[in-house]
């Protein structure tokens, strides 16, 4: 190249100045690969996650099953693939989700495309989400109410159906309130009486009157909830499947309906948003494969915040001692190396430690001291959100210690000397000058700890996470905060759905959606911490010199 330049050109590119360029390319390529992988991962989860809410059209196919005979199948196409037979022919195959698990247990069928005689999308097909057996796909026939029967062709049919579903939702909430709060209160009081009797505080005769009262109100409440149920059963949605079977759903199992083939783009968008909303706000149903993930979101957020709350003071105090007070000798060096190595210990080991130490030792002792009357039923001596947060706090402690040490070391000597020259003691200097100046750095450590902790699953399985928690760790029942309760977690939820559920194929979309949600929750937690840090930074921008 340089040969092309005139021989006396003063600015010829020499080999030496170019020698660095391949390295520039290499570093750029390294970064690009990293970015592409991260973006690809995120995009895949984003696409699959959001697509799981999008209402897909229902295809009706006539499939040749035997000579001359056909079967009608209605459902969503979930996958298309090509399969080679041993004889060399290729078959295009589609996987169809046909729902209606109450009629036949296999929700998925594989169909060879060559066998499809005809394919259509009739507008009157309805997708019905029910409390059990997943979605149903039917042609609605009529709504049977105590006031009379409304045919599907009736123009008021859809409004009526919506009203029925709304009423059934309200009724379910009423029943839940009765069962969870009112009956719960009675059973808690009965339990208390039981313990009082066992410990000899009160005799059975003393308690008999109150017990009978409680028993009576219990029965009354049960009757109440039964009545609501019975009332709901009086209204039914009747319909027919494409292959001619009659079905009828009582209104207590109806969750939502949608007619995808008749809907326009905006109807679908509305339906997708409404499904996403339900996913975020509802409790899971049917072994977590249907319904929402609200308890898992709540558990993840509460556990992560509690973990940050525990790890920050511990880490900061330890780092202050290490950096500011301990004489920098072999011993401190050894401690520092140990702390760094702690970060490399597999997280399941922390889980085992948390189970042995927090749950059995600490929890067991707490039970003996404060909850002896409930033994042998453990209160704190069993996995719970408190022990999970503490275990993760231990796991993320090195991150906070290292970040805080670095932040403390970065505070210029001049600033410390200025404080001392003003007559401040060493502790005053640390507390009033060094710590505020290193706060952004400390927060960076906390952010990293949160990011690590929120995504951790393995140790949690030992110290508090469950597949399905009956109640949230914070609720409206006194004392409102229940640190001993087990909780649900998005990370564990993904594992549970993907690998432990009876129908892994059906759970696929919800796995993607939950993974997306976990990312969103972690990113949101981190972003809020970053915002707080930037606010602090801006308030006292680091001196420019």
């Amino acid at each position: 190249m340089s040969d092309a330049l005139p021989p006396n050109s003063g600015f010829r590119t020499t080999g030496r100045s170019r020698r660095g360029e391949p390295w520039v390319w290499l570093t750029a390529a390294g970064l690009a690969i990293g970015v592409i992988m991260a973006l690809g991962l995120f995009l895949l989860i984003l696409l699959k996650g959001t697509a799981s809410f999008w209402p897909r059209p229902i295809d009706v196919m006539e499939v040749r099953v035997a000579e001359g005979a056909t079967e009608k199948i209605a459902g969503f196409v979930t996958q298309e693939s090509t399969r080679s037979e041993p004889d060399g022919t290729e078959h295009r195959e589609i996987q169809v989700f046909r729902g209606n698990k109450d009629i036949r247990p296999e929700a998925f069928v594989f169909i060879d495309e060559a066998n499809i005689a005809s394919r259509s999308r009739p507008e009157d097909l309805m997708w019905v989400e029910r409390m059990e057996y997943g979605p149903g796909i039917i042609e609605p026939v009529a709504l049977e109410t105590p006031e009379g029967r409304i045919e599907a062709a009736d123009p008021s049919f859809h409004d009526k159906l919506d009203a029925v579903i709304e009423r059934s939702e309200q009724a379910r909430e009423e029943i839940l309130d009765i069962e969870r709060h009112q009956i719960g209160r009675i059973s808690r009081e009965l339990e208390k009486h039981e313990r009082a009797e066992r410990s000899g505080e009160k005799t059975a005769q003393e308690l008999a009157g109150r017990r009978a009262e409680l028993q009576a109100s219990f029965e009354k409440l049960q009757a109440q909830s039964g009545a609501i149920h019975d009332k709901l059963k009086e209204t039914k949605l009747v319909g027919r499947t494409v292959d001619g079977a009659d079905v009828s759903y009582t209104s207590d199992v109806l969750v939502r309906t949608f007619m995808p083939n008749a809907a326009g783009f905006f109807d679908r968008l509305g339906e997708a948003l409404s499904r996403a909303g339900a996913f975020l706000s509802e409790d899971p149903r049917e072994a977590n494969t249907e319904g929402g993930v609200f308890p898992a979101i709540f558990g993840t957020v509460v556990m992560t915040l509690a973990m940050s709350f525990f790890v920050t003071p511990f880490g900061v105090i330890a780092a202050i001692y290490l950096r500011e007070y301990a004489s920098q000798g072999l011993m401190v060096q050894f401690v520092r190396i140990s702390v760094n190595n702690l970060a490399g210990v597999p997280s399941i080991v922390f889980g085992v430690f948390g189970l042995a130490f927090f749950v059995y030792t600490v929890g067991g002792t707490v039970d003996q001291w404060f909850f002896a009357d409930k033994l042998p039923t453990p209160t704190y001596g069993t996995p719970g959100i408190l022990w999970a947060s503490l275990t993760l706090a231990l796991l993320t402690l090195p991150v906070v210690i290292v970040a805080t040490e670095e932040a403390l070391a970065a505070v210029p000597r001049g600033v410390r000397e200025a404080a001392l020259a003003c007559g401040a003691s060493k502790w005053q200097t640390i507390q009033r000058v060094v710590l505020p100046a290193s706060l952004p750095g400390i927060l960076t450590g906390v952010i990293l700890a949160m990011a690590r902790g929120a995504g951790e699953v393995a140790p949690l399985m030992l110290v508090g996470v469950v597949k399905l928690a009956p109640s949230l760790p914070i609720d409206s029942i006194a004392p409102f905060v229940h640190p001993e309760r087990k909780f649900m977690h998005l990370g564990f939820h993904i594992y549970d759905l993907g690998f432990q559920s009876p129908d892994a194929e059906a759970a696929k979309p919800i796995v993607y959606a939950t993974a997306l949600l976990l990312i969103v929750v972690v990113v949101t937690l981190n972003l809020s911490a970053i915002l707080i840090r930037n606010k602090l930074k801006k308030r006292f921008a680091v001196s420019s010199f």
Binding site: V415, A419, A421, C422, P436, F540, A541, V542
Partner: protein
């Protein structure tokens, strides 16, 4: 002691700070050798000399700032108002309350202007609002900064210019009304205009404070100091009234240093 043109009240002690056969070691390295000098009250004393000659070391021993460094040791004594700094009954914190310090690189805290000034009061446990407010106004006025910042006392100190930040550091150093003000090259990081303002400030402050200033700038020494000490390789070579020393240096080393910079 030769007569000096500047005013010296009768009450001022000529030997307010006594540096008595003082030697100082950083571990194996000796930085000061047998320094002996009396620093008079309510005057400005300049310490000059080439880099690494021990000016900062001497200055930082006047408020025992060098105690923080590991492996240091000293011989001899330093007394302020007759009391030895190294007397076991002397508390370093109370000593530093009597001796304010301004550093070469301005170093305000990551706090508001107001909180920077009242820092020494806060650490002394004095937090009455009226006292703090009065202190802020007085110290900032003395540091010739009040008019520039009085409307934004609660803004971050980092929003000020370099010269303003250094004057804020001076205000912070004098807020708790020390007797002595130590300044280690206070203008080294400033532009000429900001330097002039600080020099004016020093001349104004000496009525009330005994000032010891380290400087690399000969003109600055002549402009604002009453007495000058020339240090060379850890030894005190010459010490006397500034004008006399600059006009007729007694030692050849002093002359070489002064003329090397002047002519």
């Amino acid at each position: 002691m030769p007569a000096q043109a500047t005013s010296t009240d009768a009450a001022s002690r000529p030997d307010f700070i006594q540096v008595d056969q003082f030697s100082f070691h950083y571990g194996p390295k000796q930085a000061l050798f047998d320094i002996h000098m009396d620093i008079p009250e309510h005057q400005v004393t300049a310490l000059i000399g080439p880099s690494g000659c021990g000016k900062s070391t001497l200055l930082r021993n006047l408020n025992r700032m060098n105690d923080l460094i590991e492996g240091v040791r000293h011989e001899g004594d330093i007394r302020i108002g007759g009391t030895s700094l190294y007397d076991p009954s002397v508390e370093v914190i109370s000593l530093r309350k009597r001796v304010g310090m301004v550093f070469q690189k301005y170093n305000p805290f990551a706090k508001s202007i107001y909180e920077n000034v009242v820092f020494s009061l806060r650490v002394a446990g004095r937090g009455r609002k009226t006292e703090l407010d009065e202190t802020v106004e007085r110290a900032l006025t003395d540091a010739a900064l009040w008019d520039e910042v009085k409307d934004r006392l609660h803004d971050s100190a980092f929003g000020l210019s370099g010269g303003q930040q250094q004057r804020l550091c001076i205000a912070r150093a004098i807020a708790n009304q020390p007797e002595i003000l130590l300044m280690d090259e206070p203008c080294a990081a400033l532009d000429p205009l900001a330097t002039l303002r600080i020099e004016d400030l020093i001349i104004g402050l000496k009525q009330r404070y005994t000032i010891v200033i380290v400087t690399h700038n000969m003109e600055q020494a002549t402009r604002c100091s009453d007495r000058t000490a020339f240090l060379y390789m850890g030894k005190l070579v010459e010490y006397g009234p500034t004008l006399a020393m600059f006009e007729r240096p007694k030692e050849p080393q002093t002359e070489a240093y002064i003329t090397g910079r002047f002519s």
